[in-house]
Amino acid sequence: MTGEAWISIGLLMLVVLLLVKPVGAFLARVYEFQPLFGLDKLFGPLERGIYRLCGIRMDDEQNWKQYAAACLVFNFLGFLAVYAIQRLQGSLPLNPAGMKAVPPSLAFNTAASFITNTNWQNYAGESTMSYGTQMAALTVQNFLSAATGMAILVALIRGLVRKTTSGIGNFWVDVTRSVLYVLLPICVIFSLILVSQGVPQTLERYVHVKLVEPFVAPAVASGAASRPEAVASQTIAVGPVASQEAIKELGTNGGGFFNANSAHPFENPTGLTNFLEETAILLIPLAFCYTFGRMVGDTRQGWAILAAMVILLLAFMIPCVITEQAGNPLLAKYCNQRPTALQPGGNMEGKEARLGPVNSAIFDSTATGTSTGAVNSMLDSFTPLGGLFPLWLIQLSEVAPGGIGSGLYGMLMFVLVTVFIAGLMIGRTPEYLGKKIEAFEMKMASIAILVPPSLALLGTAVACVIAQGVAGIANPGAHGFTEILYAMTSQANNNGSAFAGLNGDTPFYNIVGGLIMLIARYWTIIPPLAIAGSLANKKIVPAGSGTLSTHTPLFVFVLLGIIVVVVALTFFPALALGPLAEQLQTFAGHF
């Protein structure tokens, strides 16, 4: 690993960590209804108007069941809307490319994918979705699925903070405030920066240009059957990209406007945009740690969780960078992969020259660690170990640092399990932040922790044995297995990134994947809400010297141990048949 690579990682971490406190504090103000530096004055009338039209009052409190019901109803309506818009896009406005209706199974998969903040894409954006669909269906859910995750987290925090009450906040209010005061303002600024760097933002049709020199495509480059006729023009897909790109990263969604996602020069044209997109991805998931600390009245609690998240992320990101920068041993005899002043070197298949292997590995690790699923390089073409680490990051159940809201509420489930085990070890009925952790909490936390890995393992098992599953595989041998495992893992953890070789646009993958995403999302949302309800009802036990400290390095160490053993190692056998076998088998001489 070169010094430049260390600097790249260090710079990203530095900038994000510097932003954690101010942004986290702002988020806490949003959810505690404190003044927002004039922003509330600006959007206050709009906010109150929304509530009036919805027939809700800002101080209406919901118990956890009402809160969960509101979340499910809201998301279900969103699902119907996304499905309907895709099916009807042929006759809807803002369709300059004349896109036809999206087929039912694909539309189902996409709707499930976008309402669950997964943003798994079995379609290529520029050849499937109209501008209208990208905006009114997909961009909207990029906002709303992110806001849903934020709301659930805030409800859980309230459950921890409040005592002997059943109210955990109001879902409608939390969603509205998340959109109005957090996501939208940041997106406005962020999308303008993106445009300045070269991201298109236009509603005009695709650009047709005459090529400088017509060419005859050689068979090798396209992979498809070569056509002898000369190609004389290029159609350049454009669209309202920047506005979607901004929320795609900020909301840890990851669904690209284009098929190539953030590798596309229009989604991620420069080193600066790449850096800002990484920052946007990490920003809110990490800032929420500080918000959490603020809201529970002990910021150390937030920093401890943040430390755990960052350690996990770096533990997987750094080896990924190392292996990708080291290059593909099988190519060594054909070309020069050494990083020099004139070239980034490394494993460049499926990577962009302006980004190079280091920024590609950092970006993809960041995006897999946050359930964003955006990619700026093709994971399928990563070296076996380089691909293993992003895959494993997802398999950690998206807690390093995980999706917006969902990362922290997922992490808190692990914290509860850790508190339970560590609490026993000091001889007390476990408690977290003064709340006793009992059978009900354990049951719910177990469900939330159990669901994603179970779905990933089962989905992969099914796809491995039935013909429709195996048919989608693009690469032979162990790599093909990794493709299936990656696809199922990604959807079961609502990540959405892909080993994109797998052909997912088949009825089997569309429907199974869609169901997996829905189950995974809502069965990791309901348990935290149930816990919030249960905890809100409890008293708060004052801390003493006999209380387990949950902000110490020791606790972080135990937490990491639990995560690694309980979820990461669960996938070890499967990983042995995929990336590990591929690495050891093929690169036997290079390991």
């Binding site: 609490g423 026993l424 009925t429 098992a461 003493g544 042995a576």
Partner: protein, 696 residues
């Protein structure tokens, strides 16, 4: 403290009984209660079936391999059963002893609560609540009840193990008697308080046997967690079959394309079962119920009977200890510190009389008076027989003790008793003595009056002595995060003095049952768990309110009913031990869970490299322990089974507990059980593999 024998695991009879019980527990209906071990149980059945299949010539793996795996899976199940049986063993042995006390003695049922009332002989088993019975010296008390008439000394050693007899009398706090105990002197009229089968002895037998053992809340929560973990492991291993079928097919296709033999095979089910059993938390799963039973058993060894496991668990969580001053913080027996003569009496004479009256008094107070007289006036201890004196022991009726020298009867006792005594002899009670006695009382000490015939000689001042080491004990409790509150009837001044000396965190002076109850409620309002001890009927409301309430066995029936534990030794200091036992119980669970989960890491490295060897031979590079591929899986399974046996002592004794702040405890246990659990199997599995390969 009675019968605290060191735990001998392989005590012959308990061991034999445990082996037998462990076999009986192989019943599926018993197994299904423990989800983790039930999975092992099913795995053992499955591999046995696979073994039979392989005998028939259709083996999916070498016959010897399937055979040994299934044998060791059965051992795993058996070892877990054995651990539970061992834990139950001592309880059962103790229950047998108790049962011997529950003979069906004939009872004399009275028609009315008077000694002279008509009596009928009935079998004890027919006695009902409310019946009145008479017990005389030598009788075994046939049922639990309350004394309504008479005073007697009772031998309760059958229950408490304490050989010194206790006084039981009507009214007050010493009115309750327990079935199975024995009247030594005098007689008692008893109102039966429990129907047959519901008596204290019955409850105790059920308790120690663990017959009615229900899972405690914390155990349920842990079970849920372990079940969840088991499901993940189950899915992770079960899905390996399709994965390996796919992988083998892919590799074979590649081999065929290269013109090589298609050697890749899907992983055998036996290996998958072995992996599953190694990964699920069998160590804690197998020992979980043993830990719970052993925790209760440790309470019983400490002579505390808990009415539920829940109470034992709650003891570990206690935040506040309400401790009665007398007997807990101070020596229950006070010590003489000064002689205060009555007007006109020389102090030396008072000291002399006091010493004489105490010569035969073996109580600590008596001894302290003798010592004080010797120290102050150099009075040598005299032999009571040489003086021709007759010792008058303390009785419940006179409430005085003393000595009858020829023509010189000396008595000492509480002011009211002595006043009664001198007045009865025609003497008078000097007001100066009374005021002195009151003054001593006010200072938190106890006045003891001495009279010679009708003349009051003066007052001995008995002072509370804070128990040695109690200060350090409280400091430990403070380090554990437990607050100590001294409860006393003394005035605030005295209470503060003693509280400061003893080092308690707080005190409640001039306590009444009401203020005590209010104090408990206040703490609970703030989310704290309160523990207390009590014996009197007026303690009952507070006992009922407290989260952990230890009633003294000497206490009233009402107190015992209100509490959730009974201390047979009636030792109020026991509360601290109760808390420690509760903590130890939870810690043992946590430590073994950590150990069990940490174990998994090495097992992956033992099994995974060899499990797909036919498909991806290169994976054997992950065989970092350098195990023999033939025996690696078996070694892991054997380790997994043996570790249960190895940890039975930890489960039964509990992990070592020293009162320390939480973070230090956590550090220690993480180091021992977390890091240790990570490393131990690497060594263990490697050793077993080496041994296996000596034989093979």
């Amino acid at each position: 403290m009675a019968s605290r024998k060191p735990l001998n695991l392989f005590q012959g009879d308990i061991f034999r009984r445990a082996v037998r019980d462990a076999l009986i527990k192989l019943n599926p209906r018993h197994q299904i209660r423990n989800p983790v071990m039930f999975v092992v149980f099913l795995g053992a059945i499955l591999t046995t079936a696979l073994f039979v299949q392989s005998l028939a010539g259709h083996g999916e793996a070498p016959t010897w391999f399937i055979f040994w795996i299934s044998v060791w899976l059965w051992f795993t199940v058996f070892f877990a059963n054995f651990a539970e049986a061992m834990a139950e063993g001592r309880g059962k042995a103790q229950a047998d002893t108790l049962r011997r006390a529950r003979r069906d003695t004939p009872a004399r049922k009275l028609s009315a609560p008077q000694r002279a009332a008509a009596a009928t002989e009935v079998p004890a088993s027919t006695l009902r609540k409310g019946d009145i019975i008479l017990c005389e010296a030598g009788d075994s008390i046939p049922a639990d009840g309350e004394v309504v008439g008479g005073v007697a000394s009772v031998d309760e050693s059958a229950i408490t193990g304490e050989s010194a007899p206790v006084i039981r009398e009507a009214g007050g706090d010493r009115s309750s008697v327990t079935g199975g105990t024995r009247v030594l002197s005098d007689w008692l009229i008893i109102r039966v308080g429990a129907n047959p089968g519901e008596a204290f002895l019955d409850r105790m037998i059920a308790m120690v046997e663990g017959a009615k053992r229900q899972k405690t809340p914390n155990e349920i929560a842990l079970n849920i967690l372990l079940a969840g973990f088991t499901i993940v492991c189950l899915l992770a291993t079960a899905t390996l079959l399709p994965y390996s079928i796919y992988s083998a097919a892919a590799v074979n296709a590649a081999l065929a394309a290269a013109g090589k033999a298609m050697v890749a095979r899907a992983v055998p089910i036996t290996t998958l079962v072995a992996l599953l059993v190694c990964l699920i938390p069998t160590t804690i799963g197998g020992l979980l119920s043993a830990i719970g039973i052993a925790g209760m058993d440790r309470m019983i060894q400490a002579n505390v009977i808990a009415t539920s496991g829940r109470a034992v668990e709650a003891a570990g969580d206690v935040d506040v200890l309400l401790l009665d001053k007398t007997g807990t913080i101070t020596l229950g027996n006070r010590q003489a510190v000064a002689f205060h003569p009555a007007p006109g009496v020389a102090e030396r004479d008072l000291a002399d009389a006091a010493q004489l009256s105490s010569l035969a008094d073996e109580t600590p107070e008596g001894r302290s008076i003798v010592v004080l007289a010797k120290n102050k006036y150099g009075m040598r201890q005299r032999d009571i027989d040489d003086l021709g004196a007759r010792f008058v022991p303390f009785t419940a009726q006179t409430r005085m003790s003393g000595v009858d020298l020829p023509g010189r009867p000396i008595r000492k006792g509480a002011d009211s008793a002595v006043e009664k005594y001198v007045c009865a002899l025609g003497g008078s009670f000097p007001p100066a003595v009374r005021s002195k006695a009151d003054e001593i009382s006010r200072q938190g000490s106890t006045p003891l009056l001495v009279a010679q015939g009708p003349a009051v000689l003066g007052t001995i001042e008995l002072k509370d002595i804070v128990k040695g080491g109690i200060r350090e004990r409280f400091a430990e409790l403070r380090a554990m995060g437990i607050k100590t509150v001294m409860v006393t009837g003394d005035n605030p001044l005295t209470a503060a003095a003693i509280a400061a000396e003893a080092g308690v965190d707080d005190f409640l002076a001039q306590a009444t049952p009401e203020t005590k109850l209010k104090l408990i409620r206040d703490y609970q309002q703030h989310g704290q768990l309160v523990a207390m001890t009590g014996d009197g009927t007026n303690d009952a409301p507070a006992l009922a309110q407290a989260d952990v309430a230890v009633a003294m066995n000497t206490g009233t029936q009402a107190a015992k009913e209100a509490g959730n534990m009974v201390d047979l030794d009636s030792n109020p200091t026991k509360l601290i031990e109760v808390v420690e036992t509760g903590k130890q119980l939870l810690m043992t669970r946590g430590a073994l869970t950590t150990f069990s989960i940490a174990n998994d890491v090495s097992k992956y490295f033992a099994i995974i490299p060899v499990m797909f060897a036919s498909t991806y031979p290169a994976l054997t590079r992950l065989n970092i322990m350098d195990l023999n591929p033939q025996t690696a899986v078996l070694s892991a399974v054997i380790f997994n089974a043996l570790i249960i046996i190895a940890l039975i002592p930890v489960a039964l004794r509990g992990v070592r507990y020293r009162p320390r702040p939480a973070h230090e405890l956590l550090w220690n246990n993480i180091l021992i059980y977390g890091v240790g659990g990570l490393l131990a199997p690497f060594i263990g599995i490697k050793l077993i593999d080496l041994l296996l390969n000596i034989r093979f």
